[in-house]
Amino acid sequence: MGAYSAIWTARFRTLIQYRAAAFGGLVTQFFFGFIYVMVYEAFYASATTGQPIALSHVITLVWLGQALLGMLPWNVDPEVKAMVRSGSVSYELLRPVDLYGFWYARALAQRTAPTLLRAVPLVIVCGLFFGLRPPASAASAGAFAAALLGSLLLGCAITVLFDVTLLWTVSGEGIVSIATSLVVVLSGMNVPLPFFPDWLQPVLRALPFRGLIDTPFRLYTGDIPPSDLPWMLLHQAAWTALLVVAGRLLMKRGLRRLSVQGG
């Protein structure tokens, strides 16, 4: 366990050093968040029919999305990418560490450390001035926290799956870039899922990606009542387990393939 926490602290320290970049990134996110908010306001202003979510909730969702953007599995671990490219990934097999676990720990570190740096100031400022409302109730807040944890675990499973796909180099990169778009859309990060057409809703509810953003966020705003929490958690856990198993299997296959090719 010590090895994993060491990874986490190292990453955190590096990120503190890149404060200038972190700040710049913060500004970017404010900027984008603002634009989204103004766009939604304009849409709602000319709305003639009722909408699946209230505008104030949508604004909260936007800011939550910007704050927690770091948690979305939208890219691969750049070091893994470099390792695969250079071929040194085969050396990883010599280490007395479970490689999947190792990559998973890295993913955890990458998702949490930068997020904390950005989320806290963003939430504070937007909460005070720009329409980020507090959770609908204490129960909602608790549900949000639980679902967020589930989202983190799920997201890391997806990230590691992406990393593993890189073991099939050329096609791997292309597949990942395509899959990334799917993740962004189907998680509700791009547009809150309730806006999608009604006939699409069952599909969106079944897929794992909603567990990343849609579930925790709408628990926060109360659009999903806290009483639904157990089902939500089950959904996340089931998909996480599936993706972990798939990831491990593919990893074994991929590594074997590499060593056969003489990596």
Binding site: V27, F34, F43, G174, S177, T180, S181
Partner: protein
């Protein structure tokens, strides 16, 4: 005029070599293009989904918003594709390779412009073009020769503006080693903001997009003229038609700032 043609020929030659080099990695190129197509297409998907629930935004219907979107994305990806040299410039400065450019009897900006035409951005271009063409067909606009010319000018003007932003971003490297992400705000944020009609933004932001970084000017106003739409902000038609020139002026200004940067490099010794 001859100098311009000559410079253009050199540019084309450079680009041809770069393209040929990249075509060698066909499979990877196709997949990456597909990836870029999708990830940039995601933004349009948002528009489509939202228009499934809403009828209009600030009085603009879907084809009109799509038109603006297509215009801005095509311009951006063109500028992005042809300015890769400026993108990697900071690294070149660090490794001391800029001297090599100064030793050649050509303007440094021209040499950078010719570098590394990257085909990977083709995804955004294709997607933008598709949307633009679809919307153009569905707008109910009669596409006369004059209107088509204005559209091309608008794309060019918008492209020049984005190009100018990229040049300015690169010029910063002469003064600081930090990569200022804030400038990415302006370029990527700008393209994102301009997909939607200017009036939806609050006054301060509108003014920013019109006067400080005039992305709004070169995209929104010509689009109005092309669609024959009335402007709630009250701009005259003449202004709308001439707006692309502002893009060219911005680029010219950016190139002057670039020259200042080069001069500083020569004084400080790099």
């Amino acid at each position: 005029m001859k100098r311009f043609l000559d410079a253009f020929r050199l540019l084309v030659r450079y680009q041809g070599i770069s393209i040929r080099g990249q075509m060698q990695y066909k499979a990877s190129f196709l997949l990456m293009s597909a990836g870029t197509f999708l990830i940039t297409g995601v933004e349009f998907l948002a528009i489509l989904v939202l228009f499934g629930r809403f009828d209009a935004i600030a009085g603009w219907r879907l084809p009109e918003v799509a038109f603006l979107y297509g215009l801005v994305n095509v311009a951006f990806s063109l500028a992005d594709t042809f300015s890769r040299g400026f993108c990697v410039f900071a690294g070149m400065l660090k490794s001391g390779d800029f001297d090599r450019l100064l030793l050649r009897p050509r303007s440094t900006a021209l040499q950078l412009a010719g570098q590394e035409l990257t085909m990977r951005r083709a995804g955004r271009l294709t997607q933008g073009l598709a949307v633009l063409l679809w919307s153009a067909a569905n707008l109910g606009v009669a596409w006369s020769l004059g209107k088509t010319a204005l559209l091309l000018l608008a794309i060019l003007g918008c492209c020049s503006l984005f190009y100018g932003i990229f040049v300015l971003q690169a010029t910063l490297a002469f003064w600081t080693t930090e990569t200022l992400e804030i400038v990415n705000c302006v370029s990527y944020g700008g393209v994102f903001a301009m997909q939607y009609p200017l009036p939806i933004y609050q006054a301060w932001f509108r003014r920013f997009l019109t006067f400080v970084v005039p992305i709004g000017t070169v995209a929104y106003f010509p689009a109005l003229a092309l669609m024959g739409k009335a402007d709630p902000l009250g701009s005259p038609l003449a202004f709308q038609v001439c707006a692309p020139l502002i893009g060219a002026a911005f680029l010219a200004m950016a190139l002057q700032v670039w020259k200042l940067g080069v001069r500083r490099y020569q004084s400080a010794g790099g």
